[in-house]
Amino acid sequence: MTVAAPTEPMLPPRRRPWGIVILVVVVLAVIAYLAFSSIGTALVYYLTPSELAARGDAAVGNTVRLGGQVATGSVSGPATDLRFVLTDGETDIPVHSTVAPTRSFREGSGAVVEGALGPDGVFEATQVIVKHDENYEAPAPGTLPSDRAFEPGEEP
């Protein structure tokens, strides 16, 4: 984005302050190391139930976001010990969650869960996000919900 090298304009014409140059290089190297060493674990893939199933055993234990529909008739248990099934119409993934979802969570609604598939084939969710539009968070200022309940002109 910027072109001038940070060290360039600081260099006095005669004596080059190698100490500073080395320090800058070291600092940049540390930042680059920090950025790339943890990027592998920081990336959270967003998958559908079919995509998760297609990964087979390789998927076990890796944190992903799983998005799908809450299957009708699958929800059981209290809010803090919830069991339900997420489906994309082809594949069903059973989910267990100890974190309470927001109240918009209901059968048939879209939901995104973050967590990892356990060895028993049950997806252990650490976060349940109800998907009410293309994004998965509450709509906020500067925006319109993309799937609206009614169009302008209709009586609500």
């Binding site: 940070p6 600081m10 006095p12 004596r15």
Partner: protein, 669 residues
């Protein structure tokens, strides 16, 4: 009628702005000098046009004129007047109209303030600002017309965004952020103008520093207020999620801060000017990138977006601005590089240089994390997200290093420091830091980030305090003043330096509050029936009753409310609710926050069972959060303190060369 006037005003603004560009360029090329005056009046005219546009929109909103699509989508007959008025910036088209008002306002202000001065520079400044404004007028004329009509006209509109209705804080942070964003076009314009005219001189630096600091204050306050809004309104118990919208505001703040620091070196020691101009250009381009990210719908965010036709326009704008300014920079590079007095390794210059490297490191890290999902989606088609843990892991060490430099930099002399100076200035503060960390450990504080931040904050504060005392003492001795008066005069006569210190104090307060509140917060999710209690920390929360009823002032909104009493360090009753708005599928959380100077009790309702009347609550105890907002306020006050007299001085019509470079030992940090 009103919408037609608004639309006409936008078109007039477009025409005036286009004329201003041509006239400014002709004036700059040495044609009729009266052209510059006429172009300036055209820019003022475009500001008036944008103002008329905004007034027309607010009138349409207040009058619930659903013939305007924007009003139909963002207003309802039941919307209270205050919410209707601030709906001006509630959605895409209106916010661009408001944006244009502020952008033309800054342009007009700059041209009026520098009228008759800097005759070589100003026409290019005006032309650049007019180009920026032209872009926004063009967006409103073609893809994002705020006055687009709809037919047949509905009897009722969709109503404003539910989150907007739910809390008055929405009135606060968007205007502050927009003022910051739009104002940063001014230093960019000066950068471009100076590169074109080869006038990157000391006068230029002084002007640009001031025109960067003012929008920087707004941006700082806007980011803080945005975090506050997120905390008080969204109900997730936190204030910063490394959401793309937050990052978009942070990125230009980082480069602008880097510029404000590098400008001091450039002013003091020469050199670095091409670097400084690159930073102001980068800052402006990052504001465009941020707007693109937040307004085009390309990234998923807390601020969800409409897919709009505006995205390609912004992309084109970014490419033009980037390509143009890069070409200009490279073109002028051979002529402008150089200068600068030599300095040693242990010097304030080195500290500033390192400061800039760290700020740019932060900028690249945040930009990388924000854009990576886009890049991955574009190349492999996979959808990913980069989580807060990554941002924290990468950025926290850089922030800590910056904190360290914040103390070291101002205490190092320019040129070359000796080890004796270092010992004298750092010995006591370092010992104090060690003592505080030891005390923290003894008290059972085991969070590394919190300990390090606390220790560094104490060290930095001690170094600054020592500096002030040293200066005040010297002054008291030299002039026979009493120490308090001497301290007061010292700081008010060197506002820039000590205002800067006040900013640093604000940042220290924020840093400690962020480290402690993120490291030591506790939370628990509980489900309790009426009459039952739950515990968190020293608090006991009792479920009194569950109420489901329409809101008193808008019966279309159904509120599910838990009424609770709490006991502990604070006690009383509180209500936390979920509200169902007719235009939002998701219920909107209404967290209850009980703030004290030590800690916040934060309660949000997750779910309720209509059968048993049981509620599921998310309880948080967040220590020291209020100090983040206080720190932000200190930063704002400190920077206003720093800039105040200069603003007053330059209000006096003055000769260009009135200012001799100041060389007194205590001035100009």
């Amino acid at each position: 009628m009103i919408p037609t006037i608004g639309h006409a005003a936008v078109l007039v603004g477009l025409g005036l702005t286009a004329y201003a560009i041509v006239a400014f360029v002709l004036a700059a090329r040495g044609r009729d000098p009266r052209l510059a005056g006429s172009a300036r009046r055209a820019v003022i005219g475009s500001f008036v046009a944008a103002l008329i546009g905004c007034v027309a929109m607010v009138i349409s909103l207040l009058g619930h004129d659903f013939s305007v699509l924007y009003v139909a989508e963002n207003n309802a007959t039941t919307t209270p007047p205050f919410i209707s008025a601030i709906s001006l910036w509630a959605a895409l088209e209106g916010s661009i109209l408001f944006w244009t008002l502020l952008a033309t306002g800054w342009a007009a202000l700059v041209l009026v303030r520098h009228r008759g001065k800097h005759r070589l520079l100003m026409p290019w400044v005006g032309a650049t600002l007019a180009c920026v404004n032209l872009f926004f007028f063009a967006v409103m004329t073609w893809p994002g017309n705020p006055f687009a009509l709809t037919a047949p006209v509905a009897g009722e509109g969709l109503g404003p965004n539910a989150l907007l209705q739910n809390h008055p804080f929405m009135a606060l942070h968007p205007p502050l952020l927009y003022l910051g964003y739009t104002g940063l076009a001014v230093p960019f314009a000066f950068g471009v103008a100076a590169l074109i005219t080869r006038r990157l001189d000391e006068e230029w630096l002084r002007i640009v520093r001031r025109w960067t600091l003012v929008p920087w204050i707004f941006l700082t306050l806007g980011i803080t207020a945005g975090a506050w809004w997120s905390y008080e309104v969204l109900g997730w118990g936190g204030y910063w999620a490394w959401d793309p919208v937050e990052n978009a505001a942070l990125l230009p703040w980082l480069t602008a801060t880097a510029f404000l620091h590098s400008a001091m070196v450039a002013e003091r020691r020469g050199g670095l000017r091409i670097w400084a101009s690159a930073l102001v250009i980068a800052t402006f381009i990052l504001t465009l990138v941020g707007t693109f990210l937040t307004r085009s719908g390309v990234v998923a965010s807390v601020h969800s977006f409409t897919q709009s036709a505006i995205g390609p326009w912004f992309l084109a704008g970014i490419v033009v601005a980037l390509a143009g300014s890069l070409t200009l920079l490279v073109w002028r590079l051979p002529e402008l590089v150089g200068g600068g007095r030599p300095s040693g390794f242990l010097s304030r210059e080195s500290a500033f240089l390192l400061n800039n490297v760290l700020f740019l490191g932060l900028t690249f890290a945040v930009l990388f994390g924000t854009l990576l999902p886009l890049l991955v989606a574009g190349t492999s088609g996979e959808t990913i997200s980069v989580g807060a843990p990554w941002f924290n892991a990468v950025n926290a060490p850089i922030f800590v290093a910056l904190l360290f430099l914040m103390g070291v930099g101002p205490a190092l002399p320019w040129g070359q420091a000796s080890w004796a100076t270092l010992r004298e200035r750092f010995a006591v503060p370092s010992i104090l830091a060690v003592v505080v960390v030891a005390a923290g450990l003894a008290l059972g504080l085991r969070n590394l980030a919190a300990l390090v931040t606390l220790g560094l904050a104490v060290m930095v504060a001690a170094i600054m305090l020592d500096e002030v005392i040293r200066g005040a003492r010297a002054r008291a001795r030299g002039r026979g003043e009493n120490p308090v008066a001497a301290a007061w005069r010292l700081t008010t006569r060197n506002r820039r330096r000590y205002g800067g210190y006040a900013v640093h104090v604000g940042i220290l307060v924020m840093a400690v509050a962020v480290a402690i509140s993120s490291g030591l917060a506790t939370d628990v999710t509980v489900t309790i029936a009426p009459g039952e209690t739950a515990r968190i920390g020293a608090y006991e929360i009792r479920h009194d009753r569950l109420v489901v009823e329409p809101l008193a002032d808008d019966a279309r909104v159904i509120e599910t409310r838990a009424e609770l009493t709490y006991d502990g360090p604070q006690s009383g009753s509180l209500r936390t609710a979920l509200r169902d708005y007719p235009n939002s599928q998701a219920a909107i959380a209404t967290p209850a926050v009980r703030t004290s100077l030590g800690e916040d009790l934060y309660v949000t309702l997750l779910a309720s069972d209509p059968g048993t009347q049981a509620v599921t609550l998310h309880l948080f105890v967040n220590p020291l959060v209020v100090w983040i907002w206080i720190g932000g306020l200190i930063v704002g006050i400190g920077s206003a303190f720093a800039i105040w007299p200069e603003a007053r001085r330059s209000a006096v019509p003055a000769v260009e060369s009135r200012r001799a470079p100041s060389v007194s030992p205590v001035e100009g940090a």
